[in-house]
Symmetry: C2
Subunit: 218 residues, 2 copies
Amino acid sequence: MIDTINVREAIETENGRYAALVREKLKKSNTYLINLMGSPGAGKSSVLLYLASLLKDRIRIGVMEADVDSDVDARLMENAGLLALQLHTGGACHMDAKMTLEGLEHLPLESLDLVVLENVGNLVCPAEFDVGANKKVTILSVPEGDDKPLKYPLMFQVTDCLLVNKMDAAPIFDFDLTRLRENVKPLHPGLPVYPVSARTGAELEAVATYLLHEMERT
Amino acid sequence: MIDTINVREAIETENGRYAALVREKLKKSNTYLINLMGSPGAGKSSVLLYLASLLKDRIRIGVMEADVDSDVDARLMENAGLLALQLHTGGACHMDAKMTLEGLEHLPLESLDLVVLENVGNLVCPAEFDVGANKKVTILSVPEGDDKPLKYPLMFQVTDCLLVNKMDAAPIFDFDLTRLRENVKPLHPGLPVYPVSARTGAELEAVATYLLHEMERT
């Protein structure tokens, strides 16, 4: 255990240097980077596609799809008319800042207002790595349960915004939004929480407005 | 990236030595160990509770609950009358063989036929670590989607048995069991796949019978 943790710290220090380079690069091209995180199947791709459909006439969007393997998500994004880049983490369970910088170098940043990095589906590892993004957005889905902040606290501590997806399925799952908020509160008071549905589009216009507002503030 | 992978290999070699110690220990006490894996919220605890209720009059069961933090799951197991031990991975996204051995040392193995290790909710990291278990069981849940084998192939390659949970929710999700089987097949021909529901209990009697049969064969 101790060895593992020390190794992680060493990587993080190097990671911090690369995160600074990512921020510098984004500032130069005036591009906003969102680090989108969540469990496998939480609906990261579906929410992203819906948000992109709301935003694409207002801002220019690029997508980086990080996966352990496959190009399923990048093809999905391209089929929806988005500029998409597939990144493979080579077995790693998260993106780090160096990989993010390499990805950004393959995108025409000067002509993009927003890049969304869809991280590897995972509630643990991505929380530990600053990739240099302007905003961390985490998606939790209703079927995962309202107890997840108790079991994966770091993710809820580090994120800047929480979307609770698949709200349309809430009636058939034992999921209580109030209980979720209570579980989140001690970890991260004031965290914006949006109950949404990528299927019905519920509340995603509000999320799009929030993100545009945050981009303007930067 | 290359550094990270080399570190992982070094850990794995040490891990292999501990996995052998785990196997030796289990053999001595004639205890069977299941490594239960899956995403956060796939239903690992719920399925385990249901299986335990089916098996508890036939075999003596102990549970090790691995979490990054919290003792939510161990309390859940204890409330159901199971002998449960909470393990904290100290931030790590998976259990390794050394941590498993330490956990087993805190259980009265001589009086247990079966120990189930509920791994950290994660489709990536736990797949990479042999904890010395007799059987790897992975739970994928319907809301996660039938494309997950494409995106997290290693888990489906290494597991010995796949349970597809929340089948009762299939009608409201775009989930096709045939498509899932097609996605699994090239990765792991012949993998036993059980569509189940921890809510209705569907097919879990068949899973219990399968596991008892596998235990007898050992």
